[in-house]
Amino acid sequence: MNILVIARATFNEALRKKILNVFLLVALALIVFSVSFAYFSARQEMTIIKSLGLGIIALAGMFISVVMGINLIPAEIEKRTIYTILAKPVRRHEFLLGKFLGGTLTMFVNLLLMTLVFMVTVAFKNNWNPDWALLKGSLMIFFQLFLLGSVAIFFSIFLTPAVNFFMTSAVYIIGSLSEVTLSMMREQDQHPIAKAFFWLIHYLVPNFANFFTQNPLIHPGVVIKNEAVYYAENILYALVYASILMIIAILAFDRREV
C-alpha cells in the first residue's frame, strides 16, 4: 500500500517537472514534423515516417527516463523530505520500489502520449488506416525504458546525479552495442581473454539492443518467426534484469546512511 502511495506521489511530482515536459513536447513536435517528407513515394515516405517516429520516441523516452531516474532518490535526500517519509511507517524498500514504480508510471504516460501522436500521424499519412503493429514497437520501447529506469535508480543509490547521468548513459550505449559484442565474442581468432570480456559485457550489461524491433515493423518483408515468443522473452528479460537491479538497490539502500 505504501508503495502505491509513494508511486502516486512520485508520478504527480514528475508531471510537474518542466524539463520532462520539454522533452515530451520536442518529441511530439518532431513526430508531427516527420510527415514533411512528402517528396518521397508513398511507400518510402511511410518507411521514413515510421522509422523516424519510433526512433524519436525511443530517444526522447531515453532522455526522459535517465533525467527522471537519476533524480528520484537524490532529490528526496537533497530536499530532506526522505527523513519525513522514512520517519513514518514506511520501510526503505517500500520507498525505493514506490519511487521506481512512480517513475515507470510517468514513463508509461509519456510514452503513451508520444505513441498516440505517432499512431495518429501514421494513420493521417495512410488515408486514416492505422498501423496497429507499431504498438508492438512502443511496447518494446517501454520495456527498454523500464530497464533503463531501473539502471538509473540503481546507480542513484551510490552516485551523485551528475555522475549517474554519465554512468547510466554509458551503460545504455554499451548495452545497445550487442551486435558488436556478439560478433566480437564469436570472432574465431579472438584471444580467449578478449572473448571472455565480450561475453561478460554481452550477458551481464543490460542488453538494450534486444528491444529495437523497428526493422520488422517498418519493412513488410521482414518477419520475426515466433513473434509472440520473441516479445515475451524480451519482456521477461527486462523484468528479470530489473528485478536483479532492484534487489541489489534494496540491499544497498538498506545499509546506506541518509
Binding site: Y39, F40, S41, R43, Q44, T47, I48, S51, L52, L54, G55, I56, A58, L59, R91, R92, H93, I173, S176, L177, S178, E179, V180, L182, S183, H202, Y203, N207, F208, A209, N210, F212, T213, Q214, N215, P216, I218, H219, P220, G221, V222, V223, I224, K225, N226, V229, Y230, E233, N234, L236, Y237, V240, Y241, S243, I244, I247, I248, I250, L251, D254
Partner: protein, 403 residues
C-alpha cells in the same frame, strides 16, 4: 531489514542471473533475423572505387547505439536532397551505406542501382556502361536480403535486363520470379512484353490472356480504375499480338532485304562518325558499341564498386541507337569530351554496328518481324543466336584509328 530477508533476496538474485543469461542466449539468434549480414561497424568506412566514404560521426553514433533504421532513413533523406541538386556522385555511396545499415530498404537498392546504370552519363547523354554490372549485382544483393518481395526481382528484370542490357531471356526469368511473389497487375503485363521480346510470342499471347482473365476476375469482385485499364490494355495487346503474329508470319515468306552497311570515319582525335544504310522505315534504331577487344563480361559473385578505369565500353543501344531517316543513319561521336568514361587505353577495339529487331518498336517490327523473321541481308545477317536474326557489322580498330 531482517537478515533472513536479505539472504532470501540474495538467493533470489543469484537464481535470476542464469535465467537472465539463458534469456539473452535465446534472444540472440532470433535477433539475427532482422540484423544486417555485415556488422554495422564495417559500414562506417567503405570504398567507392579508390575513394573512401566515411559515414559522418553523428550517424555512426546513432547507428551504433541502436538507431540504425533512423540513421538509414536520415541518410536516405539526404540522398534525396543530393538527387534534387543533381549531385549524383554523392548518392551512390550513401545508398551503399544505407543498405548496409538497413538491408531491407528495397527502394534504396532500386534507386541506387538505377543511378548506377542510368545517371552517370557522358556529355552526349550516354550512360556509363561499365556500371551496369555493379548496378545489377547491387540488385542481386538486395534480392538476397529481401527474397520474399517482388520489387527487386522486377527491377532486375525490367529496369536492367529489359531496358538497359536488352537481355530478354534474363528479363523473362527475373520478371517471372517477381510474378511469383504477389506483385501488382502491371508486373504480369510486363512479363508478356518480355516474352514477346525474347521471341516467345506464343507465351506472350498466353500471358496477355492470363492478364486479361486475372484482371477481369478482380473487376467482377470490385471495380477499380487501374485494374480496369490493365484489363483493357491486356485485351487490346492480346488481339494485337495474335494479329501481328499472323501478319508477320505472312511477311516472313518474302523477307525484306535490309541492304545493310556501316562505316567508320575518323574526324579527329577521339572523334569519329558512324554512318551507313539500312532498308527500314524511318525511326528504326541502329545500335553501336565500341568495346576493348579483349573484354570479357565479368561475373562477380558479390557486389563491388570496382570498375576498371582503363576499360572502354561505349554503347548506343536501344532507344539511344542512331535513328534511321530515309534509309540512312549517321552520328558523330566525340569521346574526347569524356576521357574518364571512354579512356581508350587499350591497343585494339571492337566496333559493332547492328540492328536487333527485338529492341525495335512495333511499327519497325512490322517490317522486320518479332525476331528478324521478316528481314534478310546478303552480307551482314547474323543468326548465331538461336531463333534471332539480326544484321551486324563488326570492325576491328586499332587505338591509332581512334585517337
Amino acid at each position: 531489514m531482517k537478515q533472513s530477508t536479505k539472504v532470501v533476496l540474495i538467493l533470489v538474485m543469484i537464481a535470476l542471473l542464469p535465467v537472465m543469461v539463458k534469456l539473452q542466449s535465446e534472444i540472440d539468434p532470433q535477433r539475427k533475423q532482422f540484423l544486417p549480414e555485415r556488422q554495422i561497424v564495417s559500414s562506417v568506412v567503405t570504398q567507392v572505387g579508390n575513394n573512401p566514404v566515411v559515414l559522418p560521426s553523428q550517424f555512426v553514433a546513432g547507428a551504433l547505439i541502436g538507431f540504425r533504421e533512423v540513421v538509414a532513413g536520415l541518410l536516405w533523406v539526404r540522398c534525396n536532397d543530393f538527387f534534387h541538386s543533381g549531385n549524383y556522385d554523392a548518392i551512390v555511396p550513401l545508398t551503399r551505406i544505407v543498405t548496409w545499415l538497413d538491408p531491407h530498404q528495397i527502394d534504396v537498392y532500386s534507386v541506387g542501382a538505377w543511378h548506377l546504370a542510368y545517371n552517370f552519363v557522358d556529355r552526349q547523354s550516354r550512360a556509363d556502361r561499365r556500371l551496369l554490372i555493379p548496378a545489377m549485382k547491387f540488385l542481386e544483393e538486395g534480392i538476397a536480403n529481401n527474397p520474399n518481395l517482388w520489387d527487386l526481382y522486377f527491377e532486375l528484370g525490367y529496369t536492367m535486363n529489359y531496358w538497359k542490357k536488352h537481355d530478354y531471356d534474363k528479363a523473362v526469368y527475373w520478371i517471372r520470379e517477381a510474378t511469383k511473389r504477389d506483385p501488382p497487375y502491371y508486373v504480369h503485363t510486363q512479363l508478356a512484353h518480355a516474352y514477346e521480346r525474347s521471341g516467345q510470342v506464343d507465351k506472350a499471347i498466353e500471358q496477355w490472356r492470363k492478364c486479361y482473365n486475372m484482371t477481369n476476375k478482380a473487376l467482377k469482385k470490385k471495380f477499380d480504375e487501374s485494374t480496369y485499364q490493365i484489363r483493357e490494355v491486356s485485351k487490346k495487346n492480346l488481339d494485337l499480338t495474335i494479329w501481328r503474329q499472323m501478319d508477320r508470319a505472312e511477311k516472313a515468306k518474302n523477307p525484306r532485304d535490309l541492304n545493310f552497311d556501316a562505316e567508320f570515319k575518323r574526324l579527329g582525335p577521339r572523334k569519329f562518325r558512324i554512318s551507313g544504310r539500312i532498308n527500314l522505315p524511318d525511326g528504326a534504331r541502329v545500335e553501336v558499341s565500341l568495346v576493348d577487344a579483349d573484354y570479357k563480361e565479368p561475373s562477380p559473385k558479390k557486389f563491388s564498386w570496382e570498375v576498371d578505369p582503363n576499360l572502354t565500353m561505349m554503347y548506343d543501344a536501344g532507344i539511344n541507337g542512331i535513328s534511321v531517316q530515309d534509309g540512312r543513319f549517321d552520328r558523330v561521336y566525340d569521346l574526347s569530351l569524356d576521357p574518364k568514361q571512354h579512356p581508350l587505353a587499350k591497343d585494339k577495339y571492337v566496333l559493332t554496328v547492328w540492328f536487333n529487331p527485338r529492341n525495335a518498336t512495333q511499327d519497325i517490327k512490322d517490317a522486320s518481324g518479332f525476331s528478324g523473321e521478316c528481314m534478310t541481308d546478303k552480307r551482314y545477317l547474323d543468326t548465331s543466336t538461336k531463333g534471332l536474326r539480326i544484321v551486324k557489322k563488326v570492325i576491328i580498330l586499332d587505338r591509332e584509328d581512334i585517337i
